[in-house]
Symmetry: C2
């Protein structure tokens, strides 16, 4: 039987004493390398959208995982993005892979950029969703500081943080919320230590290393790159996607209307077509 | 026999004493309304890309035309964008159509916006390529002021004005140049009077009508809108596409890398897929 987002078993790979949880399924009979997913702040394997992971898995394998200490992975949570990126590279290699496509969402997009810069030979194509560059514009909407770190986020927090403001955006958010809870066997939530460690990593990442040319490091990303955000991301301001697209030499930029941080979950069918076109392009 | 870009006959429709040239072909057996094309500064029906017009014509009819006084159309060239937009509306109605999709490129994108604002019921969906809003950022690259008004533009002028700076961008530009010269029966070039009139129209269009909220008129565009530019448009700075996407409520923004004003001609296959997805979307 073929696995899906709802049935793929959680497996573990051990790296220097810690066990990293992952799930891997999809079509192995294509020329496309596996697509490796890097998750947002606090999130784990269960926070992806089954419609998107399964849609993408028709043309390639997809691999979800939890970073060190995140949800069902063991170990001390990492406090720097570059360490998380190195862990991701180690997991990719431990799975026997020499090259993957990488999709990073939000904090996962930070990791995806560092993974690409620090391990360029591992990455064929790069997808950056609802994210920003090292040294980017860090000014979120004031409401974010209340909602994002709340110990148990409500669905209203979630809709505010991830979706647009219209009624149809809200309905799309609720539809995603249902989809992402369809899987029966779900990981436990990340610990408070993960939240603390990722806040620290985020803070270091947003510091500008070069005040005159804060984004010059992006010019070293040679991979074909897909950048998506909603028109008004309250967490990582949308202008950061513009900065990435202006500095990564081979980046396509997509902005969806009436949407925020999770534009891909608000318009999953639109996103799937754009993503597949990008991944399949010569 | 089915017509194509290369074979569609030039026809004329008369409106208050002037004869407007047009060409119309494509698939009439779909639910999609015809796609009406509005051309850039100086250009006429022969300046479109056959690969794109024919590709789009597989799923709908396409209609090219020359504005009043442009190339093979008779009459005194218009000196205001809003007049050009009203002429386009008159031509659409004279062709017996109640609703169309509209694709405007550069100065044609100015007209497309005014057409949509002044005749909203005529327009189902709007595509804006290499263009900007009324009151937008008017600062082109200094090289443009030499190249754009030259009486007979050279291919090098054209590559500088429309394409990216890399060798592959140059090759894509030359490939477009070949495609657009494939049709045997081509219009004569627009007269110096057209150039003069369109420069005047351009100047009036770029003036800011409201210094505090120069783009508030864009919020009245309710149609699904597709906005595309290259990452560095030397004629109409790319940031104008960002402004349009931030203010037109239902606009998707696409930016292609290593490209300029004519991103759609540099990546015609990519553009065709994105455009068809947009036009076919529910």
């Amino acid at each position: 039987m073929t696995n899906t987002h709802l049935t793929a078993p959680t497996r573990f790979v051990e790296i220097d004493g810690d066990r990293f949880a992952y799930r891997r399924w999809g079509n192995r009979k294509t020329e496309q390398p596996p697509l490796f997913f890097l998750q947002h702040f606090r999130g784990g394997m269960d926070h992806w959208d089954p419609l998107i992971t399964d849609g993408l898995s028709e043309g390639r394998e997809v691999i979800l995982f939890n970073g060190r200490g995140v949800a069902s992975s063991s170990g001390t949570p990492r406090t720097r993005i570059e360490q998380m990126a190195d862990d991701a590279a180690a997991v990719i290699r431990a799975l026997g892979l020499n090259v993957v496509d990488v999709l990073g969402f939000s904090l996962g997009g930070f990791q995806a950029q560092d993974l690409t810069l620090r391990h360029p030979a591992l990455v064929r194509k790069l997808m950056l969703l609802g994210t920003g560059p090292r040294g980017g514009n860090p000014d979120p909407d004031p409401g974010v500081l209340d909602a994002a770190p709340r110990p148990v986020p409500t669905v209203e927090d979630f809709l505010f943080l991830f979706f647009g403001r219209s009624e149809s955006a809200r309905q799309a958010g609720l539809a995603f919320w249902e989809r992402r809870h369809q899987r029966m066997e779900q990981d436990h939530a990340s610990s408070p230590a993960v939240i603390q460690a990722q806040i620290e990593a985020n803070m270091y990442y947003l510091a500008k290393l070069d005040l005159k040319e804060p984004f010059k490091h992006l010019r070293e990303i040679k991979q074909p790159t897909f950048i998506l955000n909603g028109s008004n991301d309250v967490m990582i301001p949308t202008i950061n996607s513009w900065y990435m697209a202006q500095n990564i030499p081979n980046a396509q930029l997509f902005i969806y209307p009436d949407a925020g941080h999770a534009a891909q979950y608000q318009y999953p069918e639109r996103f799937l077509k754009h993503a597949i076109q990008f991944l399949d392009e010569e």
